[in-house]
């Protein structure tokens, strides 16, 4: 089996897929995003107050890359300031473009391998895009 694939499907990714953390919504402001062409369907909600990301949760369905990245997101951004979280989002998107990774991404670094699979970048970024909008003060009604 080739290395790119081993890098894409890391054990930690499949673990988050099969045992998602922070799954289920509590009613904080949320953003719902879909990729109708493949069926990925993710809602991210966040409790952001006093400039701190206090809690992030997710709900939805999709492939392992999509669902696990939502789960990992909720863990790595928890407790960060809004500014720090925005920097992480930028760093994550940069990593997806294959422009290098940064340690600040913590566990989300396991998605570095996705940049080799252009067709899968959408899967790995859908939850981060929803979270970015929450950071910018947007929310679905």
């Amino acid at each position: 089996m080739n290395n790119d694939l081993e890098n894409l499907y890391r054990q930690v990714i499949m673990d988050h897929y099969k045992n998602p953390r922070n799954k289920g919504l509590k009613g904080y402001p949320h953003i719902h995003l879909k990729n109708p062409s493949c069926g990925d369907d993710i809602t991210i909600e966040a409790d952001i107050s006093e400039g701190i990301v206090k809690e992030v949760r997710h709900e939805g369905k999709g492939c392992s890359i999509c669902c696990s990245s939502a789960s990992v997101l909720t863990e790595v951004v928890k407790g960060k300031s809004v500014e720090e979280a925005k920097e992480m989002v930028e760093a994550y998107f940069k990593m997806m473009r294959g422009e290098g990774s940064s340690d600040e991404l913590e566990e989300a670094l396991v998605y570095e391998g996705v940049s080799k699979f252009p067709a899968r970048i959408k899967c790995a970024t859908i939850s981060w895009k929803a979270f970015e909008r929450l950071l910018n003060g947007e929310k679905d009604e």
């Binding site: 089996m1 080739n2 790119d4 694939l5 894409l8 499907y9 054990q11 499949m14 897929y17 099969k18 062409s37 493949c38 069926g39 369905k61 999709g62 492939c63 392992s64 890359i65 699979f117 067709a119 899968r120 899967c123």
Partner: protein
């Protein structure tokens, strides 16, 4: 024409020597003659049609009319019953927005099925909403097939339109269409047939079927993208008002009135996809030069070979083992189709993953989506073997995470 060397006609293989293309249901590959024909138009007589009174325009117009004649012969219709549209989706929409819009009334029923491609059902769903008409579904049998028996149960004299596929793009089942059309006419309904998947696999004879409308795309039958065909019975077309007004479709124009050209020209406003229409004509010649008997024998042999090799593979589910057309819809158990498709992609095996623009049947199957492999004339036994090898790798790779 011998199928053994058929790949030489498809230059995409020269640029992608390891390509295993199993996504013909989404779009077919195009032979060189089709591309050459389009280039011939642009380089030799690339001017507008039905307008200029100079020789080059006459040449372009005759080529265009000749392509329409080829389509008419291909489906056994009359010349004036062939309308060029952008694709099957536009053609199917056109039926709903013209015939449907002008004839459907509140309380009328449009009968359709869960096997439909979105393009076959959604135009009617939206029209029914506007008209306060009712969209009714024929119950599928245990295998997911449309049967005459269930069709009869859903049919009554409230049904005015039947919107139905000839071949399912997910299951590959062939609808018992002739019997369904006969029953529909007896009940006073017209039938719009989605032939997008069928057209590359067997001879369609609209007179024999007696269908009222029939739609298909060129790109699924080795023709170019950007052109599709709407067949409509002369008697319906003559009563229909065009959806679009503009260039070429009008006859006499005054400040407050316009008369329109005869059918089919009144339904083709503006400059059409001329090169693509000529390419479609060439694709028809290409299919005819091989013959549907040979095409189907080849596809069937590959399909049976694949099913035989997959028989002993544990950890996969095939949803349409009895499919008449060379389509295999399946899943690797416990693996999302998009995850599985990445492994195929890594091995240069192109197949479709997801709901295939047919969410109703995906939901009927109670799955997130499926993987779909479809075989056509340019596929080989080696393609099938490579495909099955990657199916096995998929099962093995994802089993490590269980």
């Amino acid at each position: 024409m011998c199928l053994d060397n058929i790949r030489e006609q498809f230059e995409i293989y020269k640029n992608n020597p390891d390509l295993v293309y199993l996504d013909t249901c989404a779009t077919s590959l195009k032979p060189k003659c089709v591309l050459d024909k389009m280039e011939e138009y642009y380089t030799k007589y690339g001017v507008n049609i039905h307008r200029g009174v100079y020789n080059l325009s006459y040449k372009a117009s005759s080529e265009y009319d000749e392509a329409r004649e080829k389509v008419a012969n291909f489906i056994n219709s009359n010349f004036n019953e062939v309308i060029f549209k952008r694709n099957a989706s536009e053609a199917l929409n056109y039926v709903a927005l013209t015939y449907g819009e002008q004839n459907l009334k509140e309380g009328d029923v449009v009968l359709t099925t869960e096997l439909e491609h979105h393009s076959s059902v959604l135009p009617w769903m939206k029209l029914c909403e506007r008209k306060k008409a009712i969209l009714r579904y024929v119950k599928l049998n245990d295998e997911g097939r449309i049967t005459v028996e269930e069709f009869k149960k859903a049919l009554d004299n409230k049904v005015k339109v039947v919107a139905i596929t000839l071949v399912s793009n997910v299951m590959g089942y062939v609808t018992p269409i002739k019997e369904i059309i006969k029953l529909s006419h007896e009940a006073g309904a017209i039938v719009s047939v989605d032939a997008a998947q069928a057209v590359a696999h067997f001879k369609i004879d609209v007179k024999d079927l007696d269908c009222d409308f029939l739609s298909f795309s060129a790109h699924k039958m080795m023709g170019p993208t950007g052109v599709g065909v709407l067949f409509g019975k002369d008697k319906h077309l003559k009563k229909m008002m065009p959806l679009e007004y503009g260039g070429d479709m009008n006859d006499e124009v005054d400040k407050t009135s316009v008369t329109i050209k005869e059918i089919p020209y009144c339904f083709e406003a503006g400059t059409p996809a001329i090169a693509e229409v000529l390419g479609l004509g060439e694709a028809i010649d290409f299919i005819n030069s091989i013959g549907f008997d040979k095409i189907e024998a080849h596809c069937k042999a590959l399909h049976e070979y694949a099913l035989k090799l997959l028989e002993d593979v544990k950890g996969i589910t095939i949803y349409n083992k009895t499919s008449e057309c060379s389509i295999i819809s399946f899943n690797v158990d416990g693996v999302h189709p998009h995850d599985a498709s990445t492994l195929f992609d890594e091995n240069n095996v192109c197949l479709r993953a997801g709901h295939h623009c047919a969410q109703l049947i995906t939901k009927w199957l109670k799955v997130n989506g499926t993987l779909r492999a479809s075989f056509y004339i340019y596929n080989t036994k080696e393609d099938v073997e490579k495909f099955v090898k990657v199916v096995k790798e998929n099962v093995k790779f994802f089993s490590q995470f269980n």
